[in-house]
Structure formats: C-alpha cells, structure tokens
Symmetry: C2
Subunit: 714 residues, 2 copies
C-alpha cells in the first residue's frame, strides 16, 4: 500500500496560490464576503488579489472587477462567498477562466435537505468533469499562515500567528475547528495550515490531511472528524505520515449515541461504527484524542524530537501527594512508574532530607524551598538509570531560585537524550515567571497542566511504540494474492447465502481447517461417509435457507452406528421440510464430532467507511452479554491479528484458566490472517462472513471450524 | 447511625482560638517558625498572639515569652515548630498550661521509621491521657480565613483570600493540599478552612471533616485522602453532611499499584482496597474526584443552589462540532441529551437560520454572530420544556454584543429554576470580557472549561440523585437486631473455620435458605435422611479441615437409591481419611440435589478501614476471569443491595439472556440483606464468610445456598 506522490498535488493551489480571486467580495471586514480580503492584506499575502463584485470599483484600495472574466492575468484560487443560488454559475466562470481550485463558503447545500443535496450533486459533477477542485461548500475555508493565504472568513484570520508553525489542521466542523485553532495559538502552539472542509462536495478530510502529510513544513497533523468518507484513503494518508514520522492526532467525535446522532445530522455523513474507528486508529498509528488540549500538549513534546525508548517513567516532585496523584494517572494511561536501582536511591538519599522519599515517585518535600539543589542531584541520579526512559518534573520555579534552577535543568536536559518534561507550579492567572520562560527558550518541553503532560507522554510512548512495531516483520501487512481464484469464483458465483457445506468449502480453499465430512444425497451415502470419518458423527441439513439448523430439528449429534445415521438422515429431511417447505436443500452433511475446546467467533462485515472489517471474540456470554469483541480493518498484519486476540477480556480464557492448558493461539492467528486474505481478495463478493464457532484446542493441537455462514453479494 | 453533636466539639480551639502561642517562633517570615506569626498579623487575627522563644524579646513588634509558662493569660491553641526532639517536652508544657489544642509542624515521627513511630506513639499517648488534641505532627497546620487564624507555614497563608468563602478542605498531603488551595483561590473559589493533618497522631482526616460538616459557614467539603484511618467515623461524617445537604468531594488517590505503594510509603498508613473506597463513596454519597479542577468547577454549581430534578440536558451551542463533542462527554458521564418536543423545535426553527440545527444539541451556527437574539429565543423555548432539567450554554460573549446578551441570559436565569451553566468562549490568557463578568456578578454559574462544566453537572446530578434516594424508604439502613443471639453465640463459640454444615446452620439462623438435609453419623442415618429428603441426594463430608471436598473425593452427587447412599457414605469416609488423616470429621452431609440455576457468590471480608464488607458476583468466569464483583460496606440498605446486584456486568445474565427467564432478584436481595445483618451483628466474631455458590432460580422460585464457609475469629 503506497501513496502515489501525486495523489494530492492538485491541492497545491489552495495553499500556494500566486493569485486569488474573491467572488462576491464586499467592503465589510466583519462579513464572510469582506473578511478574507481584509485578512489577506493584513497578513501580508504577496500574490495578486482580485476582488470580484460589480458593486465596487475598489475595496480597501484594491481594484475590484465586475466579473471574473475581466481579470487580466491568470488566477490560481477562487474564494466564493455568493449565495447558494449563484454558486454553480460562479464555478462555471472559474472553469472558463482556467482556475484550478475554489473555496466555497456558501451554505444551502446538502446540509439543508433534498433540494440542497441536488444542488450539491451538480457542483460535484461540475468538479469531476472539469478538474476544478473544491473545498466546501458550507465551510470556513483555507488558511496558510506561512504565506498569508487567508481564504477563510473565520475570526481566526485576525489572530496574530505564533512560531514555530508546525501543525496542519483539518476540520469537519467550521466553528469548532476555529475554536481549536484559536485555543492552540493562544496556548503558544503555532499552526501553518487550517482547512475547514464543510460538506466535502469534492475534496474531503483525508485529501487535505494527505497534502499536509507530504508537506515539509508540517511536523504534526491534527484533525476534527465526525465521519470519514473514504477509509482506505485515510489509511494511505496514515501510512505516508507514519513513514515520514509525522504523528496524526484526530479528535473523532460521535462516541455516544447522542453524539453520533448529532454528528450525522450535522454533516449528513454516515458516521460508521465508533468501535471500528478505534480499531482503525490503533492499526494505523493515528492518535485518538478527546479534545484540543491533548493536541496542544503533545506538540511541544514531539517538537522536542525525543521519542522515548520505553514507558518507564520517573516522577520528580516536591510533594508526596502530587507524586501519588501523578503515579495514579500515569499508570492508568499506560506509563510504568518503575522502581529505581539501589545506586540511584542511595545517591538521592545522600542529597535529600531524611524524611523525603527516594522511591519513585520521588518526593523532595517542602525542603526543596530552602535547598533547591536537591533537585539537581536527583535529576543526575535519574540520568544514570538505564531503566528510566522518561522524567516528569513537577516543582516550583518561582523566584528567588527559579531562574537559577531553570538553568541547571537546561544543562541537565542538554546532557541526556531521555524524554523530559517540566510541569512548573503556575496558578491560574499568575505569571509563569522568568525561570519557566528560560526553560521554554532553551527548548525544554514545559507544560503547565500536569494531567495533560502525563497524557502527552502516554501518547508519545504509544506513538514511539507504533513506529517501532511498524518497522518489524510482524506488523508488515502481507500482499494479498490467491492462486485458485477461478475455482473460488465458480464456487460463489451468483449465490446469495451459502449453506454450511458451501461456506466451509470456501474457507477450506483459503487453507482454513474445517470439520472433516461430506455431503450425502442418500442415507446410504451418509452411512458410507460416516464409515470413512469414523463414528461417532454428526448429521446436519445443508441448506442456505435454514441458518438455524438446531431450531429446525435438523441437527443430530453423536451418532454411533449406521442405524442411527439412517434414522437421523430421514428425520433431518422430514424436519427440514416441515420447518421450511420451500427451503433449498443440498443434502445432509455428515461430519466428524469435534472434541470440546474453547469456542471463538470470527466475523467479517463490510463497514460503510472502511470496507471489510474482521471481528473476533469468545463465544457464549463473552459476546452475547459482555460484547467483548475486537475489530481490525482488513488487510491485517500478523501483529494486528495477535493484538485482536489479546485485546479482548476473554483472552484470559485462551491463556488458560482453572488449570486448563493454554489454547493454540498460533493456529488461531493463522486463521484470522487467512480470513483477512479472504475478506480482502473477495471484498467485492463477500457481504458477510461468520465462523461461529471456531473451536480452539490446546497449544499444538490446532483449531477447527464447527459452523460457518458466508453471504455473497448477488 | 447518628453523629453525637459533641463528637467534634473538641476541635473548636483549632478554628476559633481566642489566643495562640507560637512555640519556637522566629523572626524569619520565610521559615515555618516565622511564617504563621507573620501571617497572623498580616491577615488581621484579632485574638492574643504569644510568640514563645527564649532567644527573642519581641518578634515583629509583639512581645515574645521565654517559656510557655510565662504567658500571663490562658492560651487556646499552641503552634509548635521546634525540632522533633523537643516536641514531647513542649506538649507537656501545653498540658500544664491548660491548652486544649496543638498544631505540630515538626517532622521526624512515624514517617521516618521505627524510632519515629515510637516517638509518635508517645505523643499520641500523651494526647489520649491529657485530653490535649493534636493536629500533626509533620503537617502544614490549620487555616481559618474567616478570622485570620493562620496556624500554618504553607505559602498559602500569604495569598489574598477570595469571597465567598464556603469550602472547608482537609488534606493528608501538605504540599499538594496547599497547591489545591492556591489553585482554588486563583480560580476564584474561596475557602474558609484548610487543614493539613500530617501523621494524624491524634485527630485525623475524618475528625476535621466532621467539624467542618457541622459548621454553618461551610457549604462544600473537600478533601485529599490517601487512606482513611476509621471508616465508620468517615461514614458518620458523610451522614451528617448528607443530612445538611453539604456535598463532600474527595480526591482519593492510590488507585494504581504505583500510586497505592507511594501513598502507603508517604503516610505510612494502610491504604485499604481502592475498590472498596469506590463502593463506600457511592454508598455514602461522597463524590470522588480525580483532581482539584473538579472541586473548583463544582463549587459555583452548588452555590447556585439549583439541584437538577433529573439528568435531561440541553446543549445550546453555536457550533455543530462543539455540540457533538459536548454530547459525547455528557453521555459518557451519565447525563442524557434528550430529544426536544415538536413544540420547542418549531419555536426554535422560527428563530434560527434554515441550516441551523433545532435538535439537541442545538446549533445556532455562526449566524449567531450577526443575529445573537436567536440565543434568547432558543433559551426561552427550552425553559418551557418539562423534559429538560439542565441547560448548558456554550457561546461567544465577546463584544460588541457580549454585555447585551449577558443581560438577557441573566433575565432568563432569574425566570426559571432549571439548572443553567454558561461556558463562554474565552481563550487562554485572554480577558474574559464584561459580558462574562456581568453573568458572574448576577450569580449565573460560569465555567470556562466546558469539559469541567459537564463533569460538574454530572456530579451535581449524581448528588441530587443521592439526596433523593437517601430520603426514600429503600435506602434507609435498617437497625440491626437479632433475636436468637444466644443460640448463635453457642453455635460459633470457640470455633475457627466452620464446616459446611455448621456454616449453613449459622446462615439458616439468619433466615437464609440453605439446602435441605442433615448430618449423618452412620450409613443407616444417611439412608434415613435420604428417604426423608427424597431421592436423588448428594453426600459430602462435613469437616472444617477439608474445604476442597471435591478434590478430596468426598462429594457424591445424584445418588438415587439406599444402596448408592451406603456405598457413597463408606467411600467418603475412606477418601477423606486418605486425603487428610488428621481432619476433624463431623459426619457426612446428606442433602437434596439442587436443580440448575444461576450461580452467584456472596462474601464478607473485614476491610482494615471499613470493617465488614459485602462482596457480590456471578460464579464462574465472571468472578474468576473478569473480576466482575461489587462491594458495599455493611450495614446495607435494600437499595444498596439492589445497586450491588445491578452494578455488575453479569447482571444481564440475571435479567435473563438467550430466552431464559429473569432470576429471582427479590430473593437474592433478601439474602444480601440478611448477610449484611449477620456481618454487622457478628462483626467481632466473623472474620470471613463465603457463600459459593448461592443458586438463584427464576422469579418467584427463590434461592438456595449450595455451599458455604464461615471463618470465626478464634
């Protein structure tokens, strides 16, 4: 899976236009029609600016053109703020003028109902036919802070920019996206690009993220997402970002039913199942966040350029209580507050007062106030600890000793490659002080909110983990190729629901172990099959129309003799006929009786966003009562398959409980991988697949499909 | 359960002293010995101040006494900042002088090791014998902002106070408690009392909380807790606070293993099991918080005096994205984002632009900027909705329209008794604006952090729920009285582990249904019992020394004839003897065979903090793999018992899955209540109790104890 270098090249005119036409421009800098023009001038945009409006000769001292066609030179980008009714016409003029990109602010399209959807479909078609790329409609537009392209009417165009500008941000909510933008800037985190995608009539969330991923100025990608349109495209973008080591943080909303309902009514898009987003994000290394604070705290950590080698964290505090609180939160978020070596502890003890704690978390106590050099001694002891990857310092940097301590911390920071973050005590509304400012200037990550600092560290550790895993063989997604495609196609061609026998045949073609047995067309054939298999055997009707075979009285187990087989054969046909007179009956399956094992379920569904998606869970109450299942989007790596298995609570059962031996995880993983191959190779044919159950035997003893049902697209 | 009105009266001198002696006072206002004196003067304390130190004639212009005995008048409170070695001596002088209360700052006691523990035990004994009450040692002391009692050396004594002062705060961590104090004040939340309890040599966390609960100036109680010393006392305090409608918010740390380890090393106290704290807090209405932000956000909500009638919440936003995000968080925290009536929606639609959303969450869209009156129309429509208890408004109140809108919101607020909170857009470091200030002045709750606002609402709803439940019959804890105490005492007297037969006899005395049957001393007796019970029967060895009867080969099930009973009888005696030759064997239990049902487990353990604690869970994997159990501290109300049952994930199974009928929850609840009675009445005798399993039958069919084991304190 790779991203064509040119996939997002057509977006360049949105970000690097040499000239911009503002169609429907006005002289009111508070209105959508006037704000972009005002901001372009204000932010020093160096390209050509062409307001277009027959009502004005000039706006803010810039010549205004009555029509687009009147503009003398070429135009790269059009910004359209005319009412919805005039948009199509404006776009046609853009095409005529040879413009390559247009931002459409106007509301009144798909978000308003059937008529609006129709109007939107027309502009989508125009874009597809002409090659004119669109951002919007119903959007706040595009901002590039690096060159003053303020093709937006959001209030954010008036906010002073902040350096360094390293974040690219894409949002499906205009107003909320603008809030996030403002919050980031006022928190000292600079953005270079901002795009509000609106209704996504042409270009969508993933397109803009893809453009930014390949952009050299962008180090971190952020997004606010209600529902992706094209899951595989987003996966390609995530892959490019991972290759370039650029983290993607997405605030995906709609977790709750009310949230999902609101998101879907807000964008009119299909939200998809939230749990599948979770799985997809894990799989692709996208960091899921709950709010902008997490992005804002993460940026200084990633810009510091120190990915932690592990999750072992030392907490260096001046209060026992702060240490305990931070330890709780750290462990909840997956960091490890590891014990320190005897050597480190004795070095610290030598520097600390007798009532301080040289454990981890380290508590310097309030004596730090009178003897701040203790901090330096403890820092130095921690630097020598191989087992410590991360140091979080939470202490007071106010005067009289703030600047002095800060300078020593800077020296410490420069002498190590461990991940360090400092959380100084700064109270709401109080000045952070010169010591803190000195740290910031020297590039030491400083975060005032300790909880967000821990969260940022947890994200950083997870991201570093993901990058390491990504490079391992285990997490390489194998290329999908199947040898016997023709015979497979023949098997499923034109079928709807496959019978158990047909489903198992299909699984067997992918190398998945199924029960031994065969299809009998007569009692004699059944007896002969039973003889070959060996008694006892099971008999079941084979019919695509009777999925609930037991309910139909069409399953007989533990048949021990030819006589019993004959009787069962007759009874099955009788019962099946009574149960559903018009059922198509292929015959009667004669199968080996499976010994007991752990029953698991493997399923494939077609997610509307992500396509074929694999589900895994334990049978019985785990699935029925606890909904204890895991998902991954196909195709999977072996590591993904193992992660799915380990992720469910029922994994304990597979590992062996009550003295039972561990299950054959290897064989189970292999089946999941084969299902991934099947689901990927046949993604256009298979609508649904359920193995229920797959029986898993102890280590080395394999697995076997006991029952299965596949539904083929007709 | 009631709190003696005088239980905490002896603490009054800490908060309302007419005179304070500062033993070991110095003239350095930056040191523990000098800061309180300096702060007493600075904060205008009106009582008499007596510095005691032979080195000075006067400090800060106040006469200094060489010895305590030299002080002419009576002294209410002593503040001791001499080194640990001098503390005992100082306390003896306090007793001699007739002082009633002492704050001990000095470190060097239980927190430092065996020697320190010994020194601390001595001062505890002195306190117990003399009636002198102690706060500390190793503490930051006591603050009363209402009268300038600054018996603390924390930096907080120098922070300007904030009105209204309504919060009483007690902390087991000095430095961290001071941080919380400072954060609250700088966030505009005023405290009246602050106590750092230190090592709790005499008075403890719950004592100070109890004092504040009864104090008229205190509306909200807050605490930082690492481990309670006396669970029942804390329960009494919670009961008083609930009766007075004063919420208690406790930041209980030590959830994680590292956190618990650190907490225990920090205070040297036994942390107890965190899950039992959770249960205890639910039971007593104590609101558990993760950080001071939650307390800070909650205070304005509770001071507004509007407890919501339910959890139906309307979100009034100016951004679809903000609405979705708030809806997600609200539902996650237990609020309900309920659909609106057709009438409300049409009223809103009339005021809103066509592309806005009149659903809940309501999205005014960016048109709000040009037409802010829409907000008022929507607010008014919501006020008429009976189904809406809470309105959270999240909008921009900046000029030019901020003040105007704020005034209208104030009118709306005054016209309703619904719970309302406004979360205006204010960016980090930016002025909140006149509109917001106007809201605050009018008493409208304003919270800048939307996530904390939702959290505060969730706490408020839970608290209102708790207060309602508390008043209902269902949640009244019955008084415990048992009729047949003598026969019960005879049954368990001098025993250690009870056999199954003895355990069931004990349970039966509390009215708990156990298997029918009896103890046989011979094969003939066994056959006779079987005849009386009716075949089939089960036979088991009855021995306190063989808890694992099946493993010993000493259980025979489904015996259908006298012959089988005789054979089983002989085999049980044989096998039990082989398994454990020295086991005490009471005989062989002959019992009815129980039909299948849902197996649950009920246990009693003695928690070191809370005393007898009931555990409930489903048998099998629910307990063994998923640890899916609930706890409550005895004694329980019926409502508590029902809550325990409903709280576990396995409750689904009891409600009936796969077409099975619902279980007899009524009978199950009744058994849990009887176990609560047993555990409370015999709290000094019963060390441990396990019913495993109790078989629960369908509704109306009751329950029965299949096996049980009770351990009596010897």
């Amino acid at each position: 899976m790779s991203l064509a270098g040119k996939e997002f090249e057509s977006l360049k005119p949105f970000f690097e236009p040499k000239s911009i036409a503002l169609i429907g421009a006005s002289n009111n800098p508070g209105k959508p029609s006037g704000r972009p023009l005002h901001a372009l001038i204000n932010k020093g945009y160096k390209g050509k600016i062409y307001p277009v409006n027959p009502k004005y000769d000039s706006i803010f001292g810039i010549k205004c053109y009555p029509h687009l066609a009147d503009i003398p030179g070429p135009v790269d980008l059009a910004v359209i703020s005319v009412p919805a009714a005039g948009v199509y016409d404006a776009l046609e003029q853009c095409v005529e003028k040879g413009i390559k990109a247009a931002v459409i602010f106007s509301s009144g399209f798909a978000e308003t109902g059937p008529e609006g959807r129709l109007a939107q479909a027309r502009i989508t078609e125009l874009a597809r036919n002409s090659g004119l790329r669109l951002c919007g409609p119903n959007c706040l537009g595009v901002v590039n802070t690096r060159n003053g392209v303020m093709a937006s009417f959001a209030f954010i165009v008036d906010i002073p920019d902040v350096d360094p500008r390293t974040v690219g941000f894409v949002t499906q909510s205009g107003a909320f996206g603008a809030l996030i933008y403002a919050q980031a800037l006022y928190s000292g985190v600079g953005l270079n690009y901002f795009v509000s995608v609106g209704n996504e009539a042409d270009l969508e969330f993933a397109d803009f993220l893809g453009y930014m991923a390949q952009d050299n100025n962008t180090r971190v990608l952020g997004g606010y997402l209600e529902g992706a349109k094209d899951g595989p495209k987003l996966r390609r973008v995530a892959e490019v970002a991972a290759r370039l080591g650029k983290p993607i943080m997405i605030m995906k909303v709609g977790r709750s039913s009310a949230g999902a309902r609101a998101a879907s009514s807000h964008t009119g898009s299909l939200a998809g199942e939230d749990r599948i987003y979770d799985a997809f994000f894990k799989q692709t290394g996208i960091i899921r966040i709950d709010g902008p604070e997490e992005l804002i705290a993460f940026v200084p950590m990633i810009l510091a350029g120190r990915l932690p080698k592990g999750r072992n964290t030392a907490l260096l505090t001046v209060s026992g209580g702060a240490g305990v609180t931070l330890a709780d939160l750290s462990e909840r978020l997956g960091l490890i507050i590891s014990p320190l070596s005897e050597s480190a502890r004795s070095k610290m003890k030598a520097a600390l007062p007798f009532f301080a704690s040289a454990q981890n978390p380290i508590d310097l106590t309030s004596q730090y106030v009178t003897n701040p050099e203790m901090l330096v001694a403890c820092f130095n002891a921690l630097l020598e600890e191989d087992n410590i990857d991360i140091i979080l310092g939470n202490f007071d940097l106010r005067e009289p000793y703030g600047v002095e301590i800060a300078r020593q911390v800077i020296d410490i920071y420069r002498s190590t490659d461990k991940t360090i973050v400092v959380c100084p005590w700064v109270f709401p509304g109080q000045d952070e002080g010169d010591g803190v400012r000195e740290l910031r200037r020297a590039g030491v990550p400083v975060l005032l909110d300790t909880a967000q600092a821990v969260r940022a560290l947890a994200h950083l550790v997870d991201y570093a983990d993901f990058l390491r895993k990504r490079k391992s063989e285990e997490y390489r997604v194998p290329s999908i190729s199947i040898q016997n495609y023709d015979s497979i196609r023949d098997l499923i061609k034109g079928k709807g629901t496959l019978s158990e026998g047909e489903s198992k045949s299909l699984l067997a073609k992918f190398g998945i172990p199924v029960t031994r047995g065969g299809l009998a067309g007569s009692a004699d054939e059944a007896v002969e099959l039973a003889r070959q298999i060996g008694y006892p055997v099971a008999l079941k009707v084979d019919s695509p129309d009777i999925p609930h075979k037991t309910e139909a009285g069409a399953v007989f187990l533990n048949l021990a003799s030819a006589d019993e087989v004959r009787k069962a054969y007759a009874a099955i046909l009788q019962n099946a006929g009574d149960y559903k007179p018009d059922a198509r009956i292929n015959g009667v399956l004669v199968q080996e009786m499976l010994p007991e094992g752990i029953e698991v379920i493997i399923g494939v569904t077609k997610d509307p966003v992500f396509g074929p998606t694999i589900m895994f869970g334990l049978g019985g109450i785990f699935v029925e009562v606890l909904k204890d299942v895991s998902f991954r989007v196909a195709p999977l790596s072996r590591g993904d398959a193992l992660d799915m298995i380990k992720e469910i609570k029922g994994y304990q059962v597979l590992k062996g409980v009550r003295g039972r031996p561990p299950a054959d995880i290897e064989a189970l993983t292999s089946v999941i991988m084969k299902i991934s191959t099947l689901a990927t190779a046949l993604k256009d044919q298979v609508k649904e697949l359920d193995i229920n159950p797959l029986v898993v035997y102890p280590e080395g003893k394999g697995v076997k499909v006991a029952d299965a049902m596949v539904v083929i697209k007709e």
